[in-house]
Symmetry: C2
Subunit: 402 residues, 2 copies
């Protein structure tokens, strides 16, 4: 019974979030299981953006900076994202790309511990994190040590008194494994280090409480679970206790204490405003702001709860409906507290499988060497979607092996 | 005769660029003299952006990266901006803010001259340039020397063999003075330095030939004369002769030689692709691309020629129509080869004057301590606009002194 389409339909009919799916402008027949790469378009975004373009830019021109709140947007949107990750107001700012924010955060983290000589980075981090960690280490003359989150306690012990910044991803972008942010943050801080988290696969997807966990710095992406649109600006969180000593390398004039004085020297603004950089990309930034509305209405906790249910259903359907030779191994941990919001399936020729699913309207993606990723965002993925995706996956695997 | 409104109207009727003004969505009664701060909205932009949002993002989802050309956008739009500044293809990339591109360019410039210990920055540069120059110098352990462009030969002589990067603004953001980019570039290179230009007030406004001048690196802004919208992404130019050794600090995964290999180490892409950073802000970037169309159709040379005529008219009208006590001093050089595309007027209480002009629909801005800036972009400013602005300025000055 629990492996039938009828059962899935019944779940949808009882799902308190089911009405959200229709608010997203998904083309008919498309099942969007790749919101961990690019969240879909919410119906409120085009209208909001059109107002920004035609009325604010077109009619108000330069007055948009004051009258339409453009100037405050990086910190206003930052506060809204902050609420989704457990950050009190005045600690989050939005702008630039995640790569740039990583450079900014890691450099500032190192400067908070000027006597420390080692920068630690999660070996399972997304490539851009690893590349920026290497660049910051080289630029500042630090030694880069890569480890897994599991291996971190050993690294902290071996380099006692040497470790400054520690950059970890809250969710493994390949396997979907969710790390214990609270415990790891505590370990890093107990060792005198600075915990820097990449929340790209966590913000808007899993409950994160950066303030309560004592996180030092964090960055994250605007276009995955926040659905802010292709290349939506990234965010930077810095705990208030560090603000006075937060010495960021990207000293753009928007971070100056009195930007319109056009003063000779950079004097950082108090608070998180110092982490503003140059003029923010208003169109991309305000599209992101509009995209936050449905997530705020639904609440991260409810989205997360449904996402876990969808994941459980996916695992069960794979076991019940796919014959053993066609059944891919689920790489993501089964335990809820160890699972992010996508499931990774080990699958030979994952890229070809993903392409064949795309032809059937099911959007997934593949990551080397052999992982098929299915993102189960509770905001717009239905139980029936999961059922249909598993059916299609079975068909594709059968065809490819036939 | 040449100081009457009828004469100005006749100029407009004979102006080959006059039809462009109507293509911009300027509100009725508004005279936009502040395109050096925020260019106005061209009528082609909202439609282009709506297509990107609704069709590409909304319908194509992740396929937008390949099918709609999002992946190539930073270098495709870069090449289009490159043509406006005399850069051959494959040397210009678009993304992030000008502040971030300054950090990237100055660090790479310093690394091209690892034995050099001095970073020179134009003391008249826009604040963000000065702040980033100071940040790069501090981060890399270089000595920062500020000078004016006039004083540069003396600095190069005093620090013979020591000067690496030299950052200059092509047009003074306050006074509107246009510097001799060709001569200064030659001076810097003859001294063994790396010429880095901020073209924010030049790109799309004055003819610049970066290739022919032998410029090493350049950055510039997308929202001034390129009219790309509030916070439009910035561009970075790097001469092809430096590409193989171009060692940029912002090693985002989009700059990797094979980004989808998700490899352990950053290996820069050949050519300008290595200067890509993180995922580009597609909405802001493609709005900028659409905004380039009218400028490409008109041509920078024609826009520049008209801009100079508008400037000449403004100077003459101030002299002819404003009584001496109300007549502000024109700070910008009169000679065409020394004049950028805005005129700066010395004017007590410049901010109040600008505000009073705004109430009359005339958009200008003020810069400390006492400069009123009037941007004369030939693409959408008419001769009649200049006449009406001078009349309004006379009225405002009279009222304020009365």
């Amino acid at each position: 019974m629990e492996s039938t389409r009828e059962w899935a339909e019944k779940q949808d009919s009882e799902d308190p979030l089911s009405s959200f799916r229709a608010e997203f402008d998904l083309p008919p027949g498309v099942i969007q299981l790749n919101g961990n790469s690019l969240g879909p378009l919410h119906g409120g975004v085009p209208e909001a953006l059109d107002r920004v373009v035609r009325r604010e830019w077109g009619e108000h021109l330069i007055r948009g900076w004051s009258e339409d709140g453009w100037w405050d947007a990086p910190v206003r949107v930052g506060d809204r994202i902050g609420r989704l990750i457990g950050a009190g107001p005045g600690q989050t700012v939005v702008g630039e790309s995640t790569s740039v924010q990583l450079f900014n955060a890691l450099t500032a983290a190192a400067r908070l511990r000027p006597e420390r000589t080692v920068l630690v980075s999660d070996a399972a981090n997304f490539p851009t994190d690893r590349y920026l960690a290497a660049s910051v280490a080289r630029t500042l003359g630090l030694r880069l040590v890569e480890t897994t989150v599991d291996g971190l306690p050993g690294v902290l012990a071996r380099h006692r008194g040497e470790v400054g910044p520690v950059l970890c991803g809250a969710v493994d972008f390949r396997t979907g494994e969710l790390w214990d942010l609270v415990r790891t943050t505590a370990e890093v801080r107990a060792a005198g280090g600075i915990a820097v988290w990449d929340l790209s696969h966590a913000a808007g997807a899993v409950p994160v409480e950066v303030d309560a966990a004592g996180v030092d710095l964090a960055v994250g992406c605007g276009y995955k679970y926040l659905s802010g649109g292709p290349g939506a600006p990234a965010f930077l969180y810095a705990a208030a206790r560090h603000h006075d000593r937060l010495d960021l390398p990207l000293t753009g004039w928007h971070g100056h204490v009195r930007p319109f004085d056009m003063a000779d020297e950079f004097v950082p603004a108090p608070g998180i405003d110092r982490a503003r950089t140059g003029t923010p990309h208003i169109l991309s930034l305000l599209a992101l702001e509009a995209a936050l509305v449905p997530l705020e209405r639904a609440g991260v906790a409810a989205v997360r709860e449904k996402s876990l249910r969808l994941g459980d259903l996916l695992v069960r359907l794979l076991a019940d409906r796919l014959p053993a030779p066609a059944r891919p191994e689920v790489v993501t941990p089964a335990a809820h507290h160890r699972r992010g919001s996508h499931l990774a399936l080990r699958c030979p020729e994952a890229s070809s499988v993903s392409a064949a699913l795309m032809e059937r309207g099911i959007v997934t993606d593949a990551r080397p060497p052999d992982l098929l990723r299915l993102c189960l965002n509770g905001l717009y993925v239905s139980y029936t979607d999961v059922f249909d995706a598993v059916t299609a996956l079975g068909d594709v695997r059968k065809e490819m092996s036939g």
